[in-house]
């Protein structure tokens, strides 16, 4: 599977897992949160592997996606550390971070796969001056 499809598939799974987790109570959500963290790490690995081959603009998008994925992982730790009463509130942030990570991955992938416009040909030389 190429970079585009692998990253998109992982982003989609991450988004799905987080959305499912947000619908559940903390006890039922815990395995999904752990699954989400594993998926986020996979996604980070996919992005990092591809980063050296990207243009500067695409690297910037890839870095943004990595940051959102890290924020997602951090939010999952907050959910797991929170007490039962606060967990639901943190699950909302967790789901939001997953969405941001998925959206940023899509932007990064699109930037990486954008067709490069060939540079414009140089202008023709000035005709010789006839005196």
């Amino acid at each position: 599977m190429d970079y585009f499809n692998r990253a998109m598939e992982q982003a989609k799974q991450l988004q799905q897992i987080a959305a499912d987790a947000a619908q559940k109570g903390i006890e039922q959500a815990t395995p999904l949160i752990q699954q989400g963290v594993a998926k986020a790490q996979e996604l980070q690995k996919t992005i990092v592997e591809q980063t050296p081959y990207l243009t500067a603009a695409a690297q910037e998008q890839a870095n943004a996606a990595l940051q959102h994925t890290s924020a997602f992982i951090a939010s999952s730790k907050t959910v797991l550390d929170a007490g039962t009463q606060q967990a639901q509130q943190h699950l909302t942030i967790f789901a939001d971070q997953a969405k941001k990570a998925a959206d940023a991955t899509l932007s990064a992938v699109q930037s990486a796969t954008q067709k490069q416009t060939p540079p414009a040909p140089p202008p023709p030389p000035d005709p010789p001056v006839v005196s």
Binding site: E9, A19, A102
Partner: protein, 115 residues
């Protein structure tokens, strides 16, 4: 807060997650097209979320509806019948219905969203 509004907002938030997935699926299927516009996720089904974020959400939804119309008018039958596009269109219709219902409740019950 009006319980009907809370229910509608909760449904809208679930719909936002569905749209995010449909958006990714559509982008995977049609990589050569620009991605459908982003729709922010409301943080929760609360009055604060409604007051602070709803106008922006409605504006984003309008952009998304325009995008779907544009794809419909510029694509062949095969693309319009593609499951990824149909899923995208279905989620947008559902979101639009929730948004209209929300607007209706806000109007009829005169909920004041001013800060």
């Amino acid at each position: 807060m009006n319980p009907r509004l809370v229910n509608l907002l909760a449904s809208f938030i679930r719909g936002t997650s569905d749209y995010a997935l449909a958006r990714l699926e559509f982008s995977m299927r049609f990589g050569d097209r620009p991605a459908p516009p982003v729709l922010d996720r409301l943080p929760d089904a609360s009055e604060t979320a409604l007051r602070e974020r709803w106008d922006q959400i409605e504006a984003q939804l309008a952009e998304i509806a325009a995008y779907v119309k544009q794809v419909e008018s510029s694509s062949g039958t095969e693309q319009r019948a593609d499951p990824a596009f149909r899923w995208l269109r279905r989620t947008v219709r559902e979101l639009d219905q929730y948004a209209r219902a929300l607007r209706w409740v806000l109007t009829v019950h005169g909920e004041d969203r001013a800060p």
